[in-house]
């Protein structure tokens, strides 16, 4: 019989009894975590390859992240800590890193994980026949050497601080993959890892199922099963939420503020909110004579009311940005204060730069030509389109005539960004946790297909970015990146607009879910559902 999902009528009596138990005086009733239950997670896309070094999409990354660990990881405060590595050292000159593995880590098939697996992973990452997108992160390595079964030593050609982050790459099993073509190995679809969950099954386009790994080296995850459902339509995902069909999903600002305010959702779910690791910006083509003048960029920065954008487009679920880092990052310089929204000051700056309404038509002009430019943005992102419209209205008040063009992603990248055929773009970057911005702002990264497409060139920032890559001490790095942050805000190669909030929603039966600078997933293995609230029965193992 098809089973109808039961709507659970909440009778008051057990509810009251429960609140007496857990009430203010009932601290002792804070039950210890227990195992059982399943969590149903929804995703708009299916995974494609489940070996960490070949992962090239978010879904594969999410699943592979539960099956494989790296040598290092970020903790909830975004500090680098050991994961498979029990300890590690970086030599004085920054050229040698030595990792000491935890003993007794086993692959899901029972074999021991050793330094040989780490070296194998490295060899495959730099093997030109392996279709990994990550090879460039390992180019500076001179050698990787197995000292003993639990110790591995990596030598670099030059000191490279972001390299630590590159050792968060999941380690792959040598004993199963040696001699195989990694691009087509069956392990891409039936991976064997060593992480908190092990692979159970994958029904293409439908479902991926994982089960708790009882031998996980931290402790067995409390939630028995992890079910990753592929629901490509966001409206359908939302309907599933409304019936309690999924346990973990993320909301849009509109859903967070308005559409989830029903008694059912309030009862069945807990909503979270924390700044995401990414920002939305207006980038200028600095080859354009008008934008080459820093006063023009500063004027536009002052004439855009970012708070109004955050309120209008994100329903307040975001924060005005002054630079590329979220506030929680140690690279963020709290001393950089956003310039107040000030049309008069903006107009004065533009007048200094020679822009004034000489012919009285309402638009600024210079040398007989009105100030008119087009903002390009990509199709399929409503937030960006709406932001562009607000910027258009706001700059109109200053006398700048803005047009908006929305373009399909591939065309946008190859025909407009790569070929520098734009005046201004409205885009966003989501960034890694390491604050290195060499690829985005260093003046050498301006070739077709590279990411300093605005053409920013500042000798000071160049020097800082290079220095930041060579410095390992976090405090020293923080000083460097604070400086980068400040200079970027002064120079305005981008006008930083806002950092949006991540808005996850989790079924309320799961306990131990907390926000942190790193988000909510950092302690996933500690989440649990109390026995009386569990929803999915335990299956025979």
């Amino acid at each position: 019989m098809p089973q109808r999902r039961q709507r659970q009528p909440l009778s008051l009596v057990p509810l009251l009894a429960l609140s007496l138990l857990v009430g203010p005086s009932g601290l002792s009733a804070q039950s210890s975590p227990n195992t059982g239950d399943a969590i149903v997670v929804s995703s708009i896309g299916d995974a494609s390859r489940l070996l960490p070094i070949l992962v090239s999409d978010a879904s594969s990354g999410e699943i592979a992240g539960l099956l494989f660990n790296g040598l290092l990881k970020y903790n909830e405060r975004l500090e680098i800590v050991g994961d498979l590595a029990e300890s590690w050292t970086v030599s004085e000159d920054g050229l040698t890193m030595t990792f000491r593995l935890r003993p007794n880590i086993r692959w899901h098939d029972g074999a021991a994980l050793t330094a040989e697996d780490v070296r194998f992973t490295y060899q495959k990452l730099i093997d030109p026949s392996v279709r990994t997108p990550f090879s460039s992160n390992y180019e500076l390595i001179e050698s990787v050497e197995v000292v003993d079964p639990l110790t591995i030593r990596v030598r670099y050609k030059e000191p490279f601080a972001p390299a630590l982050e590159s050792w968060m790459m999941g380690i792959i099993p040598k004993h199963l993959l040696e001699g195989q073509d990694l691009n087509t190995t069956p392990l891409l679809r039936r991976p064997i890892g060593h992480g908190p969950y092990r692979f159970v099954r994958w029904k293409t386009g439908e479902l991926i199922e994982l089960a708790a790994n009882p031998d996980y080296f931290e402790h067995r995850p409390f939630i028995d099963r992890y079910l990753y459902r592929i629901i490509p339509d966001t409206a359908t995902q939302f309907l599933e939420l409304m019936t309690g069909g999924i346990d973990l999903s993320s909301l849009t600002p509109l859903q967070y503020r308005r559409q989830t305010d029903t008694p059912f959702v309030r009862r069945a779910y807990q909503k979270f909110r924390y700044p995401s690791f990414g920002f939305t910006y207006l980038g200028y083509n600095l080859q354009d004579a008008r934008f080459r003048d820093v006063r023009v960029r500063q004027a536009i920065n002052r004439a855009i009311d970012k708070q109004a954008i955050v309120e209008g487009v994100l329903y307040g679920l975001g924060e005005v940005a002054t630079g590329p880092y979220p506030k929680a990052s140690w690279a963020y310089d709290p001393a950089v204060q956003p310039e107040p929204y000030d049309l008069e000051r903006a107009a004065a700056l533009l007048a200094e730069a020679g822009w004034a309404d000489r012919d009285g038509d309402g638009w600024l002009d210079k040398d007989g030509r009105p100030f008119r430019f087009t903002i390009l943005t990509n199709q399929g992102n409503d937030v960006r389109r709406q932001v562009a419209e607000l910027v258009q209205q706001q700059l109109k008040r200053l006398g700048i005539d803005v047009k908006i063009k929305v373009i399909e992603w591939s065309t946008f990248v190859h025909e407009f960004i790569d070929k520098r055929r734009f005046e201004a773009v409205l885009l966003g970057w989501s960034l890694a946790r390491d604050p290195d911005l060499y690829d985005i702002f260093h003046s050498s990264k301006t070739k077709e297909g590279e990411y300093n497409f605005v053409g920013y060139a500042s000798p000071e920032v160049d020097a800082l970015l290079v220095q930041g890559r060579r410095t390992f001490d976090q405090q020293a790095r923080a000083r460097i990146y604070h400086d980068v942050h400040r200079r970027l805000y002064q120079d305005q190669p981008y006008t930083f607009l806002f950092v949006g909030d991540a808005l996850p929603i989790v079924a309320s039966r799961f306990r131990n879910v907390h926000t942190s600078p790193a988000g909510i997933g950092y302690n996933f293995i500690d989440w649990y559902a109390p026995p009386q609230e569990q929803r999915y029965k335990r299956l025979a193992p």
């Binding site: 090239s56 026949s129 090879s135 459902r229 359908t236 591939s410």
Partner: protein
Amino acid sequence: MTAYLVRRLLALIPVLFWITVISFGVIKLAPGKPTDAAMAFNPKVSLEARQRMEQLYGLDQPVAMQYAKWLGRVVRLDFGRSFLDDRPVGRKIVERLPVTLTINLCSLLLVLFIAVPLGVRAAVRPGGAFDRWTTVFVFTGYATPSFWLALLCLAFFGVQLRWLPISGLHALDYESFPLIRQWLDTAWHLILPVTIAAFGGLAGVSRYMRSSMTEVLTQDYIRTARAKGLPERRVLFHHGLRNALLPIITILGLSLPDLIGGSVIAETIFSIPGMGRLFYEAVMARDYPVVMALVTVGAVLTMLGNLLADVAYAFADPRIRVGGQS
């Protein structure tokens, strides 16, 4: 007849060839590359890494060369491997085919089951109340955007009443069910997708049926049958319907390629991993091997469908049988 068939089949080959040439050209003209999804706009992926990846997939070769290689493989019935996950394209298609076939066959049967009687009944008194109301009904179905109707039905039957599931093909613990329950579970999940697909298809078949039946009912042999004093049922169904069904055979033949082509919109809304989504995702990711395989299979089926319709027609209608029969 055999000679005719062979001639027709041979004539398909050049058509197929040009279809593949044009498709290959079109997909290559579309901006973007298969490596974009994974690598474009990711500052952690260097330009050199991207170029090397393009080489590994043979994308740095001239288009004509890429086509020749593709053709060389296809004549040996090897569609290559998907750029997206490196799995054989044939397997990816076979994996998706059963779902799409099931949904399309069910909805086609449902359409015939409803539309044929509607058309016949309407033809008995063209312009009558029944005719007019069914016209309104079937054209409402034809004109209603299916994604909108699907979402409304989901919100009503799924969220409000909780009678039907929202998405997917199976319950989460489907694997642990006994066989009968597995069947029921699948059927329960298919109710909405099939019904909504069928609703849109009613108009075509019922209108064809109505006009063909109307025409047949004006024929002399119908008047003769009535004059003989045959009961009206027998006149309608034995003498009328059998002749009026001929155009439906053509429609069925032509709908052969539709059977394997899934609706992207319906499959996306109902989270069904079918052929429509496979094709759509392949196009978006510029997964050339998958796109080309699906285009080729679709073209072959379309042409076979046409041929099948002609042949079936010849069998059903002695008047257009080809050549001197022996």
